[in-house]
């Protein structure tokens, strides 16, 4: 490509010459011409008559994005959504549980009747099936209530207002304003939130957004939080305010997640990822009347079924694995016993126990199965799952047989918020950053934060009790 009269060189030389004679401000000229023309054309083509309806949107916005009122209103709305979820999901969950566990009993009896070997019955019914039943019973009702409400807020156009309210805090943390939006997506799914970080132009700010996305609880973790709040937090309050207290505690976990996002973003943007936040324009879209059919479709098919399906896919093999761990014995003890025994000191140091730590390992592919795994490990070989269909019986299992305290519940909620992302999110981080180093950092940093926080709380607790 290096002949003396190369047309490419001729072109580049001529372009260079023209650039110099034109003064090099081609782009400014172009942008200005575009703006001038756009204004003139829009003026000619659109006529606006005065109407009162415009002010309606603005009035609502003034309220929802008011400096003092915006954030409290937001918290109130979040709390309200959780309260409806907690209050509404209890009964259907119990019904599902007793129904599904009746099937387990009937299925295993049928297998026995047909003369199937005990290990086949155990593996299929008390392993794989039981994990599926737990996941469906624990997750389906809250999701079927939570997602339509969340989707409705999204459809209304509320999420950009959330971004607007939080923008000031994020810019103080040295993060990009769009990170609020990617964070909001993280409330749904961290992997989706990480992908959404592509909209952030600056590589530095994009990396911050990717690395801190996991600090907000995703769909897979809401059920864990809601369940623990129902079983433990609610029980610590008189029945009249129990569900409100439970909802408040879940909302508080979400707020703690946002706080950690801010703090870690601030630390990152002042140390390894130094720089000034870049400006961006956020459009507040008009409020739109949500379409009921689309909300139901999006929230039930796209979200609920998507998440549930993922949970089912991961819980079936996990169920089998747990059953094997609990039933393969070496010198009198099961594999699960050795593992949990080995993990117990670590668990105790952070206010949990070995079973819970093991459950978090097994749940790396999907956070959804943390609680079902804990339950299955605790229950071991017992067949008495039919009795475990109310929150009070869960309490007696956790507190009565496995010495859970308020510390266990609080630290489990916190650890569920602050630990490594699920494998899908880790893989997405790797694809988005293209760097094994940052992926490892993004996976281990939240875990380290979680260990430090739960360890500190546990040690303080042990000091005073």
């Amino acid at each position: 490509m290096s002949e003396p009269t190369n047309p490419v060189d001729a072109l580049l030389d001529r372009a260079q010459d023209l650039r110099q004679t034109l003064g090099g401000n081609f782009r400014d000229e172009l942008v200005e011409a575009i703006y001038t023309d756009a204004q003139a054309i829009a003026d000619r083509a659109s006529v606006k008559s005065d109407s009162g309806r415009l002010d309606f949107d603005q009035r609502i916005d003034r309220l929802l994005t008011a400096p003092m009122l915006g954030l409290p209103l937001m918290l109130l709305m979040l709390g309200g959504v959780f309260w409806l979820t907690i209050a509404g999901a209890n009964v259907p969950s119990q019904m599902l549980m007793s129904g599904l566990f009746w099937v387990e009993g009937a299925g295993s009896r049928l297998f026995e009747h047909l003369g199937a070997p005990w290990w086949l019955t155990g593996f299929v019914w008390h392993g794989v099936y039981r994990a599926l039943a737990w996941v469906i019973a624990v997750m389906l009702p809250p999701m079927a209530i939570f997602f339509p409400m969340f989707t409705m807020l999204e459809d209304l156009g509320y999420l950009p207002r959330v971004a607007f309210n939080l923008d000031r805090l994020f810019s103080k943390a040295g993060a990009h304003g769009k990170q609020v939006l990617t964070m909001s997506m993280g409330f749904g799914c961290n992997a989706a939130g990480v992908i959404a970080c592509r909209t952030i132009d600056s590589p530095r700010e994009r990396l911050i957004a990717i690395l801190t996305n996991n600090f907000v609880p995703c769909n897979g973790r809401w059920p864990t939080l809601i369940l623990l709040a129902t079983v433990f937090i609610a029980a610590a309050f008189p029945p009249e305010v129990a569900s409100v207290a439970a909802a408040g505690s879940v909302a508080m976990v979400a707020v703690i997640g946002v706080l950690f996002t801010l703090v870690l973003s601030a630390i990152l943007s002042r140390t390894v990822l130094k720089g000034t936040p870049s400006a961006f324009t956020l459009e507040l879209p008009p409020y739109r009347r949500p379409s009921v059919v689309r909300i139901l479709y999006t929230s039930l098919i796209d979200r609920t079924m998507f998440v549930l399906w993922r949970a089912i896919v991961f819980s079936a093999p996990a169920g089998g694995l747990i059953w094997l761990l609990a039933n393969i014995t070496i010198s009198g003890h099961s594999l699960a016993f050795y593992l949990t025994d080995w993990l117990d000191p670590l668990g105790h140091a952070i206010g949990l126990d070995g079973v819970i730590v093991l459950a978090f390992f097994i749940a790396i592919p999907a956070n959804e199965i943390v609680v079902p795994t804990i339950l299955m490990l605790y229950l071991g070989n017992t067949m008495m799952t039919e009795e475990l269909s109310s929150s009070s019986s869960w309490r007696s299992l956790f507190v009565g047989e496995h010495d859970w305290t308020l510390l266990t519940a609080v630290n489990l909620m916190l650890f569920s918020l602050l630990h490594n992302p699920c494998s899908t999110t880790i893989y997405t981080m790797w694809k988005e950053t293209g760097s094994a180093k940052w992926t490892a950092f993004g996976a281990l940093m939240p875990l380290a934060v979680g260990l430090v926080v739960t360890f500190t709380i546990a040690q303080v607790w042990y000091l005073f009790t």
């Binding site: 081609f26 054309i41 659109s46 309806r53 132009d201 459009e283 879209p285």
Partner: protein, 272 residues
């Protein structure tokens, strides 16, 4: 916009055959571009019958989604591009949109605009017109504009922009028939296009006009010599590099270089 009384009797709507993900062979490629949150995904879903997740917030579609439809015997592949305010910056979503319009060789680019804030949306439409002639401007969210007391003069807009203008409310389906017809007319060359160019005269326009034939000589068949000339005048190093390394020449010679690489699943769920 035309309010037709009987949908079932309407010839154009009965000829729309939504093909969803089943794109297969197609006759024409249509790109959907536009500012964030103007309802591109709603238009996309209405035409393809897919249910790419739509949400009332900017920046929802990060990657491209594609689907297909059949209209009047022609098969179309429709590509939903990420929303962008401008084609001039370097953000990844904007680059995806720009590269596709430039090198994906769409037979028609539909710029979806928000009727309630036309001026800002026209900035992007004018940028698209600057680099492509086969354009339909779809003024969407007309229902909302009506609610806010805004009227759009489609004829005045059409005169100024020199391409077909269609007024739509994609969520209710109003005006989509007209959009299908307009796209058909553009891809089949049945309508004369005089795209508005912001650089009409002056030294800049002359400089662009001088470089275009030289670019065409270097990379014959490149879909967008005008854009390359403009980037060179702006001193874009990457375009210089691409010319020197022969990358742009390759794009010109290769058939459908920007052929779909992203898995279909994205179009299906709007997520990975």
């Amino acid at each position: 916009m035309s309010e037709c009384g009987s949908c079932s009797a309407c010839p154009s709507s009965s000829q729309l055959d939504r093909m969803g993900l089943d794109v297969g062979k197609y006759d024409y490629v249509v790109a959907l571009a536009g500012n964030p949150n103007t309802g591109k995904s709603s238009v996309f879903n209405a035409l393809t019958g897919l249910r790419q997740h739509t949400g009332n917030w900017p920046g929802k579609t990060v990657t491209r989604a594609q689907g297909g439809y059949k209209f009047n015997g022609h098969r179309y592949k429709l590509v939903d591009l990420p929303g962008t305010y401008s084609l001039l910056s370097a953000a990844q979503d904007e680059e995806i949109a720009r590269n596709f319009i430039l090198f994906g060789r769409p037979d028609c680019t539909v710029v979806v605009t928000d009727a309630t804030c036309l001026e800002r949306n026209l900035n992007l439409a004018l940028q698209v017109l600057e680099i492509s002639s086969r354009v339909v401007v779809c003024v969407n969210l007309m229902d909302e504009a009506k609610r806010k007391g805004i009227q759009i003069d489609a004829r005045a807009l059409g005169r100024d922009l020199g391409v077909p203008i269609v007024l739509t409310s994609a969520r209710t389906g109003d005006g989509l028939d007209a959009l299908l017809v307009a796209i058909e007319q553009v891809v089949t060359g049945k309508v004369e296009l005089h795209p508005h160019r912001v650089l009409r005269d002056g030294p800049f326009q002359r400089a662009v006009a001088e470089l275009v034939p030289m670019v065409e000589e270097v990379a014959p068949g490149l879909p967008n010599a005008r854009w390359v000339a403009m980037r060179l005048l702006d001193g874009d190093h990457r375009v210089r590099q691409a010319l020197l390394s022969g990358e742009l020449t390759e794009i010109a010679s290769a058939q459908k270089v920007y052929e779909e690489k992203i898995p279909m699943t994205i179009a299906q769920g709007g997520r990975e």
